[in-house]
């Protein structure tokens, strides 16, 4: 080799420069990765090691009057699983199934949840019993992705007594996730289902927190806490309601198991719902943490339809309770006075054209005044009053009274009553054909039969107007500013007349069985033909008390209750319970 120092020095220079160039290139590569692209890699590194475990927020507590708790949270346990893949999840679940009871349904459900949100820990059991938790905790080392955490669990202390309006909570469904109403929700979260829980979801839900757990490359949980500052959940706001839990419990108790129907009690001044019960009810606590298939089947197969709310969903011909609507319209239009008699006295029926319309009492009521007709619920009187009003007025009046509108109660899934629309002729033309009907429909409508089916809640709302001189109050479960709506205007004298007649119903009329010691109950019975079974009519009673200064409006409907008096009896018990147990102290409505 050429070993001259000059040659070596030259090569050493070349080599040194070569080294410098290579190292500068290497260092610049590190500069790019570590400094310029740092944020990207830092994020990726955090995503590698951290898994977000949602911390469910405690839902807002639902209170009744006097701070009775209707819905609260109790400590529960949820079991979650972190998995790198669906296959690995399935394998873990199959192993877990060998030590704790886990149905194949639950496994499939968990896998589906995983597929919806692979990055979130998969909820395996949202309400795990303590023995399951302790078994899993003991053998946790075998299940590296297992997370067991306390999670607030919804509890309804009164169970079935509040099932008719409180609703329940459950895991959000795919359909709900897709709807704009649940924008921002994530798969696996609990949402209100039905009742107040759903109606006031936004108030009650609170804000979910996040706990960060650290996992290793295989998805095993290495550090459960302190990997990063947790975001604490924010409890939902409480919901104050008008429900009087003492009364609610009483109402729930008074509906014997054999009875099937609904009742609503309202404060006539504010529309506040004091009690709302649909019988038979169900215990919403059973629905928490997932509805067992067998229970669901049992409830949906039950011929008495416990899941069907007979206060706000069931629609029944209002029968004679409607006669007050006909009377109020006629009085308002000056077509009749309380003392006025109709041209044809009641002989047990009424001939209209070629058809003979019966009165409920075949013996007949003779010639009676409007007051008497209300007391005795004389059909023949009201046939004639209806004819006097005419179809158009009858329908227009009904619409004015809100008989085609939902009551507006703050519960989801309320049914809209069935009633003709303003173009009554058009309505019947469409229904029966141009020549398929006659003015005879007026007779039916005037006594609350025919094309008229109301919810219990809506009849309750109508009677608040009878109690309060024409001001109907919208039923409100949540305590907030009352909403009033004047639906008719009568003179004081007319109002007094109606009230006296209604009091007479209980005093001496069709609801004599409903008399209460020391309280004047004013109300109207009703018997509605049952389209499904003509031999078993629905029984109604809607009324208020005390008659001179109403503090409670009650609407009771018994499916297949046969006769109004039975409903009246129940209503009187409700009124009695309320007036005898509550002080005269009125709660102010809250926003």
């Amino acid at each position: 080799m050429s070993f001259h120092p000059n040659d070596l020095a030259r090569r050493a220079r070349v080599a040194s420069w070569g080294l410098v160039v290579l190292f500068v290139l290497l260092l610049s590569a590190f500069f790019r990765t570590q400094i310029l692209e740092n944020s990207r890699y830092a994020l990726q590194s955090e995503e590698n090691r951290l898994r977000e475990v949602p911390l469910p927020a405690p839902r807002g507590i639902i209170y009744g009057r006097n701070n009775h708790v209707i819905a609260e949270n109790v400590p529960g346990y949820s079991v979650l699983l972190l998995s790198p893949s669906a296959d690995s999840l399935r394998a873990s679940l199959n192993r877990i199934a060998t030590i704790v009871p886990l149905s194949s349904d639950q496994i499939e459900m968990a896998v589906r949840r995983y597929e919806r949100a692979p990055a979130r820990p998969t909820v395996l059991l949202s309400d795990a019993p303590f023995d399951v938790v302790s078994v899993l905790e003991e053998r946790r080392i075998e299940f590296p992705g297992l997370i067991i955490q306390t999670a607030p669990k919804r509890f309804y202390p009164d169970g079935a007594a509040v099932g008719s309006f409180v609703g329940y909570v459950g895991e959000i469904t795919d359909a709900e996730l897709a709807s704009p109403r649940y924008h921002g929700y994530k798969a696996g979260q609990q949402v209100g289902k039905g009742g107040l829980e759903r109606e006031y979801e936004d108030t009650l839900r609170g804000r979910e927190g996040v706990r960060f757990v650290e996992v290793d490359a295989r998805g095993r949980v290495v550090r459960e806490a302190g990997a990063r500052q947790d975001l604490l959940p924010q409890a939902g706001a409480p919901l104050y309601t008008n429900i009087d839990m003492d009364l609610q419990r009483f109402v729930a108790g008074i509906f014997a198991d054999s009875l099937q129907g609904g009742a609503i009690a309202l404060d006539p001044k504010t529309g506040g719902v004091l009690a709302l019960y649909s019988a038979p009810s169900y215990d919403p606590n059973q629905f928490i943490g997932g509805i067992p298939t067998a229970l669901w089947k049992q409830l949906t197969d039950d011929p008495r339809h416990p899941l069907y709310n007979k206060v706000i969903q069931g629609r029944y011909p209002p029968g004679s309770t409607w006669k007050l609507a006909t009377a109020a319209m006629a009085l308002q239009d000056g077509l009749v006075t309380m003392d006025e008699h109709m041209p044809v006295p009641c002989t047990g029926g009424f001939q209209f054209g070629s058809r003979y319309f019966r009165c409920w009492d075949h013996k007949g009521h003779g010639s009676i005044s409007l007051a008497g007709a209300i007391e005795q619920s004389c059909d023949v009187y009201f046939y004639q009053l209806g004819l006097k009003l005419g179809l158009a007025n009858l329908v227009a009046g009904g619409l004015k009274f809100g008989m085609r509108e939902r009551s507006g109660i703050d519960l989801p899934d309320e049914s809209r009553p069935l009633f003709p629309y303003a173009d009554a002729d058009g309505y019947f033309d469409r229904k029966y054909g141009k020549r398929g009907w006659s003015q005879a429909v007026v007779l039916n409508l005037s006594i609350g039969q025919g094309e008229n089916a109301q919810t219990v809640a809506n009849m309750g709302r109508f009677y608040t107007a009878l109690a309060e001189g024409g001001e109907a109050a919208t039923p409100e479960i949540a305590r907030r500013a009352p909403r009033h709506n004047r639906i008719f205007t009568l003179t004081d004298q007319q109002m007094d007349g109606l009230r006296t007649a209604l009091a007479g119903v209980v005093e001496a009329g069709t609801a004599r069985s409903a008399q209460i010691q020391g309280v004047v109950l004013a109300g109207k019975t009703g018997t509605a033909q049952n389209s499904q079974d003509p031999t078993r009519d629905h029984a109604w009673f809607v009324g208020f008390a005390p008659a001179d200064n109403p503090r409670i409006v009650v609407a009771v409907m018994l499916e297949f209750g046969l006769h109004g008096p039975r409903a009246a009896h129940i209503a009187s018990k409700i009124v009695e319970a309320y007036l005898h147990t509550t002080t005269t102290q009125f709660l102010k409505a809250e926003e």
């Binding site: 080799m1 050429s2 070993f3 120092p5 040659d7 070596l8 020095a9 090569r11 050493a12 070349v14 080599a15 040194s16 080294l19 410098v20 290579l22 190292f23 290497l26 260092l27 590569a29 590190f30 500069f31 990765t33 570590q34 400094i35 692209e37 740092n38 990207r40 890699y41 830092a42 990726q44 590194s45 955090e46 590698n48 090691r49 650290e214 996992v215 290793d216 490359a217 295989r218 095993r220 290495v222 550090r223």
Partner: protein
Amino acid sequence: MLRRVVPDVPLVVTALALSAYGVAMVYSAGQTDVPTSALHAWASQLRWLVLGVIAAWGITRGSVRFYEWVTLPAYILSIFLLAALLVIGTGAGTAAGVKSWIAIGGVRLGQPSELAKIAMAMMLARVLAERREPPRSLLDLWKPAAVVAVPWVLIMMQPDLGTGIVFIGIFFAMLFWSGVPLPLLLLLASPAVSLILAFNTNVWGAWFLVLLALVLWYKPFMLEGVALMTANVVMGVVAPILWDRLAPYQRHRLLVFLDPSIDPRNSGWHVIQSQVAIGSGGWLGKGFLEGTQKRLAFLPEQHTDFIFAVLGEELGFLGVTLALALFLFLLFRSVRIAERASDSFGSLLAFGLASSWMVHIMVNVGMTLNLMPITGIPLPFFSYGGSFMLACWLAIGLLARIALEGRGAKVGDLAI
């Protein structure tokens, strides 16, 4: 006084600093949330370091002349060991399929290829030093080429691609240091370039024209020129055939090198996680022992091949700069020793040893950022591995001795 005990203080201090840095990183690599076999590696590494330092000191006691004399036996011995490995060698760890370990009674003693690198550098230095003139033609290169080819073939049979690359790196570096003109080196390397470029016909065609120009300008012997061009054509033709004959895992590795994201959970995992580890380090890193990628086992081979990623994650750009600066200084110092060596054997050997480190550093560090394919070459003074630590310190010993006898050494330094 220090000089009497420690020849070439800057070299030794730099090597000690790098070793201390390395042992610290091996210690950190063992500190994970997930139990790992690397937990106690640092202690073993420290023992090997002490052994290496003692051995290096021992090496400095012998003369360069003596080492020139033992070159041939050492070379033959290493060839013998490499050949024996093919029969009795065992694999280890992730490279279980590679017969690179020598073991007696189940106890792995070490990887002979690490020592073979030094033996080959010595042999190459001897062969090149014999010549008065540097090789001017390809024909002149047959002897040095043969010196490298024999161990290289044996190593490729293990198969250990990484060490093979190091051998070739040393070969070219030492040819350069012996005075072989750069164009000739380029011509020598051209068939390999052809092999790579052959996958794109246009690029390969352009390369062929460049090569032709180079041949016309450099004017080698006619026969050589023809042979060279033929070799390039042959390489271009056999490349696809060779590709087909590669083991699937090798092919996969090359493809993943080009784009790690094609297989993020398997083959691409190493390099992706290494980049994430380094990139998330930022300026100052996550702190010593605090690397999450390492701690939670996202980073594979954290105490061996990817130790530099641990460094990058925990100590950041600053730590990387410090490590690279130390390496650069070590190499500068080695080049200086080569420049000032008293004879051509020492000079060539010093440069050969430095180039060996150079290739290791470039390939290993480059690999952590996906600038180089993953070949499993350790990082000098850092990667956990006894033989390699020992080999690095033997090289330090040789360099120190060469420095001691070289120009610039004080009179009396040799008196011991």
